[in-house]
Amino acid sequence: MADPSKRPTLPSRPGRRFRDAATLLPVVGVALLITPVMTVFTRADSLFGLPTPFVYVFSVWGGLILLALLLGRRALRINVSK
């Protein structure tokens, strides 16, 4: 939802996109890691000789870290401390 009253000016756009993404990331993490969603992805017992839950949990975890890295660098660029 766009909130026009918050910051209607143009330059805030990258900031807003960053905020949206930063807000969404933990939600995605929660959905993938601590809801029954994870049982959907871990039906098979084994993947490349490794147990599926192990592979699933660690890949999602790694993915979250990677996205957080991209967002974190972006946060530094748009100067979050303002």
């Binding site: 905020r19 930063a22 807000t23 990331l25 939600v27 601590i34 870290i65 660098r73």
Partner: protein
């Protein structure tokens, strides 16, 4: 085999190394080289104090027993950090703005700088942390024991080992944790040492992991092939316990006193949080990557009765890897020491700020001694507190150590400190949260936690017998500690989380809704919740104090030199030459915040109150602040109105100026036209008078003729000047009107009589409607007949047809008298309609002498002065002019 003595030497060397690092860091800080100490890397590594010996050794044990469950302890913090934008950012900002020194300080500051709440949270933190410290001591003694049993060498008993370790840790912490009383409560030396320890434990665990996967086994697939299939079943990873553990660990990363210390209090720059948001999860990721392989290796190669909690040590030892085992030992040692150090610093800050200092203040409330240095008191009480905290842990270890009970204390402690979470979140996001609600909710949660989880964890000890556990106190079944109301949650941890946090939150919300926040709570709630919006410092309230009193107070807490520096800076800020600033509200607020950085908000507030004489911000003060704000707002509204009025005035002035310019231009045009009109008769008069001057040869007849011309031209000139005068008078509204009540027909009679000669000459026909003329009106008859004469003359002159027909008709319309003068000519062309009422306009050069084009403008002005209008009404049959006049006095016909 490494002997026990060698191991002790390695430990001592390691600790010496830490001393060196901490000392160097303190020196760097003193010389201002903060860049190295205050990097996001150091910040991130210091947060890894989350990984204690319990996680270092215990994670492998947990993995050996419950498969992937151990990951939940790391996933919760990962999600909190990845979502730093939600909570951590705000927490860190508040910590920086409000100079928060601990989690107890945060809550007390938010809920009206309440001393009671701070004490409550401090007690909770001590109760929750003491067993945790005992757990660290236990894991260290156990790891020592592993080496001594492996070598068979004589070794001191676990009690003695634990004592030395505890004493050593206390000394280290006292030396580097209480070196100075920093206004920001930051400890460069300790944090740097913790960062080094973080590297050691990560390196140790990674080394053991890599050795297990590629040294013991031949790769990841091989190691997992050795796994007991029961250990990791796909369907069993997600369950309520998984959910609960994730939630608990997420709470713990915020609420644990040591985590709050490193994340919020030791934070030097908010930007570091952006780096830690991915780097700390990465650290946790690496820490847990090899946990499962090590557990599998331990299960497959060691004896079935081997303690899985020590696999990190025993697997390398079993494989003859002495160096690797020693490194692993150092990793565990690092984990334990860093936890104890940071936890005891955090707890000592809380104890000295929230318990010792308020007590001292109360005892010394009456006197205000300048010589008593609060700094000394605080430093001494901190040192003592550290010793007490570590001693408590040691005593707990003695009392409860060695039993299996201690192993599960990690999660129990998590839940204990998590009881502050509802009050914390409410304080950060909810304006209506109140202090009674915070106190009630924490007490409720604390009690239920102790009843359902903490006390039962002692297992058949004195406090709670097994029969009470089974069937409830006094046989009341629905009060059974691990099955309240018979909800039937089998896992005691999940059960305790549900009841304690559930009721905690419920109590918090209901009491908040039932109570009203005090004035100071409201003030603080705005400071906390709107921390990102605020720019102005807290408003102080006028109090009676002298700058000397404030200086004494500041010196007592901040130290002589720091206080003087602060006061000088403030004096400069106020633009004063003397080193002492004025005791303004702003100064008091700044000073209170600075002092809060050392002693906590509640104590700082109390001390300032003692010095400044005002105990609390009263309701009247709030009203005063509100009044002031209202006045400012009113003033600004007035300014706005004034500026609007000025703007309007400027617009009016601009318009007036434009009109004046236009009028000036009109005047110029008028003058040039007048000169032109006057010039023509003047020229002929001059010419003929010159002829008369040298007129010897002229016969009398010619003389007479020329004199006649001069005479008529003079008359024309006079008439022109009269007209101009007339017009100017009328335009200025200065014309003298002789108003009287007259019948209309007499006016028309006069006008037509005057034009009779001209009409006869042209053989014109004049029509009129005498019946309609039988009205009387209140007007100036001379002027009105002048207008009619002008209109009829114009009609006769410019009609153009022979014979001309002019009709002068009158009638009543809408209660007004309407007189029309029409001719039977071609009318006035459309181009000229706009010009006929202009002065000196000569339509199509048809004006004959005697008319300067002033007739119509004058007529129009006359009618205007009489209160009516004169318009050109169109050219249906010829030119039609319409005069509309008010009847004013009477409208009845003269005769029936």
């Amino acid at each position: 085999m490494i002997s026990f003595n060698v191991l002790v030497s390695i430990c001592l060397l390691y600790v010496l190394g830490l001393f060196a690092v901490a000392y160097a860091a303190e020196r760097w800080a003193e010389t201002g080289r903060f860049a190295i100490l205050r990097s996001p890397l150091i910040y991130t590594l210091s947060i890894s104090v989350y990984c204690t010996a319990w996680t270092f050794y215990g994670a492998v044990g947990s993995a050996a027993r419950n498969g992937l469950e151990f990951v939940a302890i790391y996933l919760g913090p990962t999600l909190v950090f990845v979502g730093w934008w939600w909570l951590l950012h705000k927490l860190v900002r508040i910590g920086r703005v409000q100079r928060i020194t601990s989690i107890a300080d945060l809550l007390s500051s938010r809920y009206g700088k309440s001393g009671g709440l701070a004490v409550l949270v401090t007690v909770l933190a001590v109760v929750g942390t003491t067993p945790y410290i005992a757990l660290q001591l236990q894991s260290m003694t156990l790891s020592f024991a592993v080496f001594t049993t492996a070598t068979g060498a004589p070794a001191p008993s676990p009690t003695v080992t634990a004592f030395y370790v505890a004493a050593g840790l206390a000394v280290f912490t006292i030396i580097f944790g209480t070196r100075n009383l920093d206004a920001n409560e930051r400890h460069h030396g300790v944090v740097t040492a913790i960062a080094v320890e973080a590297v050691v434990k990560l390196a140790a665990l990674l080394s053991v992991g890599i050795f297990v996967v590629w040294g013991v086994a031949s790769g990841p697939a091989d190691i997992f092939a050795r796994m007991d299939p029961e250990l990791l079943q796909s369907s069993q990873v997600f369950n309520t316990r998984w959910l609960t553990l994730n939630f608990l660990s997420a709470c713990a990363i915020i609420c644990l006193p040591r985590m709050f210390q490193v994340i919020v209090v030791e934070n030097a720059n908010e930007r570091h949080l952006a780096t830690a948001s991915w780097a700390f999860p990465l650290y946790l990721f690496l820490m847990s990557l090899f946990v499962l392989p090590i557990a599998i290796a331990g299960q497959s190669i060691l004896a079935p009765d081997a303690n899985p909690d020590l696999f990190v040590l025993t697997v390398p030892l079993d494989q003859g890897q002495q160096t690797l085992a020693t490194l692993a030992f150092l990793g565990g040692f690092s984990s334990a020491t860093s936890m104890v150090i940071v936890a005891s610093i955090a707890l000592s800050t809380m104890m000295s700020n929230h318990i010792v200092l308020p007590l001292w203040l109360r005892m010394n409330a009456s006197r205000n001694p300048a010589s008593d240095d609060v700094r000394d008191l605080l430093l001494r009480s901190r040192r003592l507190s550290i010793a007490v905290v570590v001693a408590l842990g040691y005593v707990y270890f003695q009392f409860n150590g060695g039993t299996g009970a201690l192993a599960s204390i990690g999660l129990i402690a998590f839940l204990g400190v998590a009881q502050v979470l509802p009050a914390l979140l409410g304080g950060l996001f909810w304006h209506s949260a109140t202090r009674p609600a915070a106190i009630a909710s924490i007490c409720t949660g604390f009690f239920i936690w102790a009843y359902t989880l903490f006390i039962p964890s002692f297992g058949g000890a004195a406090l709670m017998g097994p029969e009470t556990l089974q069937s409830g106190p006094f046989g009341i079944l629905w009060l059974a500690p691990q099955n309240l109301l018979g909800v039937g949650i089998t896992d005691p941890l999940v059960h305790a989380v549900f009841w304690s946090l559930g009721l905690n939150t419920l109590v918090f919300i209901s009491v908040s809704l039932l109570t009203t926040p005090s004035a100071i709570e409201r003030l603080q709630s705005v400071q906390f919740i709107n921390v990102f919006g605020q720019v102005s410092p807290r408003r102080g309230i006028t109090r009676n104090t002298t700058i000397e009193d404030l200086l004494v107070l500041a010196q007592r807490i901040l130290g002589r030199e720091e206080a003087m520096t602060l006061f000088k800076a403030q004096a400069r800020h106020q633009g004063k030459d003397s080193p002492l600033p004025d005791a303004t509200n702003e100064l008091i607020a700044t000073l209170e915040r600075e002092i809060a950085g050392s002693v906590g908000a509640a104590a700082a507030h109390a001390m300032m109150a003692q010095v400044t004489g005002g105990a609390e911000i009263s309701f009247e003060d709030m009203i005063a602040v509100a009044d002031e704000t209202a006045q400012i707002m009113e003033y600004s509204a007035r300014l706005e109105t004034q500026s609007k009025e000025l703007e309007q005035a400027a617009v009016q002035l601009r318009n007036a100026n434009a009109k004046l310019t236009e009028l000036g231009a009109q005047k110029d045009t008028f003058l040039s036209q007048v000169s032109h009109e006057l010039r023509t008769p003047m020229t002929s008069i001059r010419t003929f008078s010159e002829i008369l001057q040298d007129g010897d040869t002229l016969d009398p007849e010619q003389l007479n003729h020329f004199a006649t011309i001069i005479h008529s031209e003079s008359i024309r000139l006079t008439r022109l000047l009269d007209d101009i005068l007339d017009l100017s008078f009328m335009e200025n509204g200065r014309v003298q009107l002789n108003l009287e009540t007259v019948p209309l027909h007499s006016i028309i009679d006069r006008a037509l009589a005057t034009t009779q000669a001209q009409a006869n000459e042209l053989g014109a026909v004049i029509r009129r409607n005498t019946t309609a003329e039988q009205v009387t009106l209140y007007t100036d008859p001379d002027r009105l007949s002048q207008v009619l004469i002008n209109l009829v003359t114009n009609a006769l002159k410019h009609c153009g047809t022979t014979p001309p027909e002019v009709s002068v008709l009158s009638g009543l319309h809408m209660g007004k008298l309407v007189i029309t003068v029409a001719d039977n000519g071609k009318g006035i062309s459309e181009d000229d309609i706009d010009l006929i009422f202009e002065k000196f306009s000569k339509l199509s050069k048809k004006f004959t002498s005697g008319s300067a084009g002033l007739g119509l403008p004058i007529s129009r002005e006359i009618v205007k002065n009489l209160g009516g209008t004169l318009v050109y009404a169109g050219s249906s049959k010829g030119a039609v002019f319409r005069i509309t006049l008010p009847l004013q006095a009477a409208e009845t016909p003269v005769s029936a």
